[in-house]
Symmetry: C2
Subunit: 205 residues, 2 copies
């Protein structure tokens, strides 16, 4: 149950309409919590009916008409409560890692291209974050709020850094997949070919 709290946070930072929220979820909020406009409208409805937010007065209640929301005291309280409550980290679920493990069994055909593509994507994301860091968090003036937000951005930067490094390493491994690793003077074959069959079995897990 995190999306409503993401929306409350966004609305506290700045009251917005559904579409404005959607845009913000494509930008800064989306760095750590993504959501589509359908999710957002659905959730805005719930939050309003629960008395956590309200539509700003002075607008028409219809389709096609912009409708902005602001957080009510009850919403702020709920967000503060949720923020302070301990939560379990949720286990990792990463498709690329799964594909890599699968490729150890059914062959690596096609993966290398996608590894390269992902590397490119993560590098772009990293530069984008670094841009934002330069623009929004120059060294110097510094409120506690700024520091907290910077901390979050830092996580994004460090995560993208991890992925670019790991993907680079993975690609390097792929280029040397058939070589005997420690033995000097291995033969680079005709590209990383299929790796069929099952290797040493998975017995120790």
């Amino acid at each position: 149950m995190s999306l409503p709290h993401a929306i409350l946070t966004a609305l506290l930072e700045k009251p917005s309409s559904g579409l404005e929220l959607t845009r913000r979820f494509d930008r800064s909020i989306g760095y750590f919590w993504s959501a589509t406009h359908q999710q957002i409208y659905r959730e805005l409805g719930r939050l309003e009916s629960e008395g956590y937010i309200r539509a700003l007065p002075s607008e028409q209640p219809a389709r096609g008409q912009k409708k902005s929301y602001e957080v009510l005291p009850a919403g702020r309280d709920e967000l503060a409560r949720w923020t302070s409550v301990s939560q379990e980290p949720k286990p990792l679920r990463d498709v690329m890692l799964l594909r890599l493990r699968a490729s150890a069994v059914v062959g690596t055909a096609g993966i290398e291209t996608d590894l390269r593509r992902h590397l490119d994507l993560h590098q772009r994301q990293l530069s984008e974050y670094e841009e934002i860091q330069k623009r929004d968090f120059p060294p110097g003036k510094d409120t506690p709020q700024d520091r907290l937000r910077h901390l979050v951005l830092r996580a994004g930067i460090d995560l993208e850094t991890f992925w670019t490094q790991w993907l680079s390493h993975a690609l390097y491994e792929f280029e040397h997949l058939d070589e005997q690793p420690p033995a000097p003077g291995a033969v680079p074959g005709a590209g990383p070919e299929d790796v069929p069959g099952a290797g040493p079995e998975d017995v120790r897990e």
Copy 2:
């Protein structure tokens, strides 16, 4: 649609029953794809009805009776196909980062304790991975299959390393949240990182 492929991979590595799969998903498979036994049984049923796997002969078809599965050629083909197909990386969704951003607005009460707890959890996970690395991937013997699996484990290790470092840094920041930050000649203390700068409001997103 990744869970069926995770199961196909696991079954190719070693034919298993539902409960055995569940155990393996709590261990090595779970490092990058987690699943509960309910999900697994549901998916085993689907995979069998689609002709991707079959129950090993020589057992009773009833509740309480163990039932092992193996992958059929069609299942292997499907896994190979899926593995080779390009996929989009899915955007990050992390509750702790969201809570931190929220805490910049509604206050940091309660979070610090949970940051500490998460740091501990990630440190434990990291040591567990490093144990496994020592045990299963000693330098020397090294098939292409081993290298691919090692690569996946490496991602786990590097990710946990990232989290422990980031959480340590976050805790350091928390201890100095009210101080004026970039005073030259600041005390390094426990924090491994530098202390950055400022940033105005969230208006430009």
